[in-house]
Amino acid sequence: MHIPDGFLEPEVWAPLTAVSASAIAYASKKVSKNLDERKVPLMGVIAAFVFAAQMVNFPIGGGTSGHLMGGVLIATIMGPFAALLMISTVLIIQALLFQDGGITALGANIFNMGIVGAGLGYLTFKGLNSVTGNLNFAVFTASWLSVVTAAGIAAAELSISGVIPLTVSLPAMTGVHAIIGIGEGAITIAALGLISGVSVDVFYGVQTVKVQRRPIPWILLAVSMSVALFIAPFASEFPDGLERVAESLGFLERGTPKVTSPLPDYQIPGLSGGISTSMAGVVGVLVTFGLAYMIIKMLRRRHR
């Protein structure tokens, strides 16, 4: 999911860079103020952990394996702002030192994995946990959703830039990641279970949310996200099995450059239609995200 330089149009990466830069600036201020700033080394070493965790491979069946994203994992432990900083740090290092993800695409990658993956994932976790009171369910759903959403948004960005039409890339990306997401969810649950067994104070901010009494927006958010990103594309024109999609577009998963068939052999739909669909998709996700952000702000004010 690390988008390199050269494939995104400026219309896509420029605004996303602005969004990500502001988010980082805000999170930096927030973290410097709230967390003990003298504990920067601790944050740094844990960011190195995030880097290592993203290299963790797990089997997803059919002889293939997925990579952990770790967004929800780290956000539930360290909080969404610290998590955003950690993931951004990791992405910067990956771009600078490992040629994994581009410089102009850095804003987009931070947006996909840090803001959407960790931030939105964290909101989902917090919401579902307060609604259902079922920690594992909340963790699992949030992890799954964060992976699928991040993949979906990456697909949308690529399709707006004309690389792959959304009608192809969205089902492919979300399809593969719907499976990877199950692994992500299961692993996140197990990891958090072990960590919380040792130290008590793991779930950042869960206590405050538990008393929260307005569950409906969260359910709506979760359901609409799942429908928008997962079910809808499948209901459309490509009922191919997930296996097939995973195979044909496997190259979108980093670390698996051995794929043989780069393109599916079906007709590629007209460009204009593709762009309008993908535009709609991205706008939808952005609006949802904005909504979620406002909601969490409101909640926060109530609990101060």
Partner: protein, 240 residues
């Protein structure tokens, strides 16, 4: 991928480019990547003046093409496939242009990090107003990356040694437990590193030994590069 030596291995070559200030190099690299990204569009020919700039930098940093290519190798397959996909939707020109853009952007970043000591690079980023906390975190990730990745390697070996297999569910659970363990180790390590730093007079921000001075050479380099890149963008926009 996990050989830490390669990161700083070419920063000690005594060549003109290595002697320049990190901030100037970062600005020029950013200008290069951004201006190229904005001006090339779907025209492969427009990449030519930009490629000349990168080749010039490679020359004044005395990096051998072999070294550069080897470092780029892991990224290439993705570029190929993505441009192929682009080729189907937007045509071969767009595909070639995208590939070249990706190629030269990566090349410029590789030249930047190969010719700048990582600590100077960080000082440069800080000098360019990246939030201090982020710069410090990059510093620690860089320092602990290999150590923590190695640690996961050890856990993995211990797992394999005991015949790790079984159902997917069981494997996911065991992997999750390994990740949790790795987190606890990292946390404890972070705690102790903090103690070690405090013990040597650390009081909240990393101090460095005098930032590199910006000389006239730096200013000339940045000015000429930016002017060249801008005009390359504009002229190729008109002509190619």
């Amino acid at each position: 991928m996990f050989d830490p030596t390669y990161i700083d291995s070419y920063s000690n070559i005594d060549a003109p480019y290595q002697r320049l200030d990190a901030r100037g190099k970062i600005i020029v690299t950013l200008a290069f990547v951004v201006i190229m990204a904005v001006s090339v569009n779907d025209r492969p020919l427009r990449v030519i003046p930009f490629s000349l700039h990168v080749i010039f930098l490679a020359a004044i940093s005395r990096l051998s093409p072999k070294v550069l290519l080897r470092r780029m190798l892991p990224a290439l397959p993705f570029f190929l496939f993505a441009s192929l996909a682009l080729g189907f939707s937007k045509g071969s020109h767009a595909a070639v242009a995208a590939f070249l853009k990706a190629f030269f952007s990566v090349l410029s970043v590789i030249i930047l990090v190969s010719t700048t000591r990582f600590s100077n690079l960080l000082k440069g980023l800080e000098g360019l107003n990246l939030p201090t906390i982020l710069v410090s975190m990059i510093f620690f990730v860089y320092r602990y990356l290999f150590i923590i990745a190695d640690e996961y390697g050890h856990i993995k070996i211990a797992r394999e040694s005991r015949n790790f297999s079984g159902s997917k569910r069981w494997q996911w659970k065991a992997i999750g437990h390994s990740v949790g363990t790795l987190f606890l180790h990292s946390y404890e390590r972070g705690d102790r590193v903090y103690s070690a730093m405090v013990a040597r007079g650390y009081e909240g921000n990393i101090r460095t030994l005098g930032i590199q001075a910006i000389t006239r050479a730096d200013i000339i380099f940045v000015a000429i590069s930016v002017i060249y890149l801008l005009s390359a963008g504009l002229i190729s926009w008109k002509l190619l």
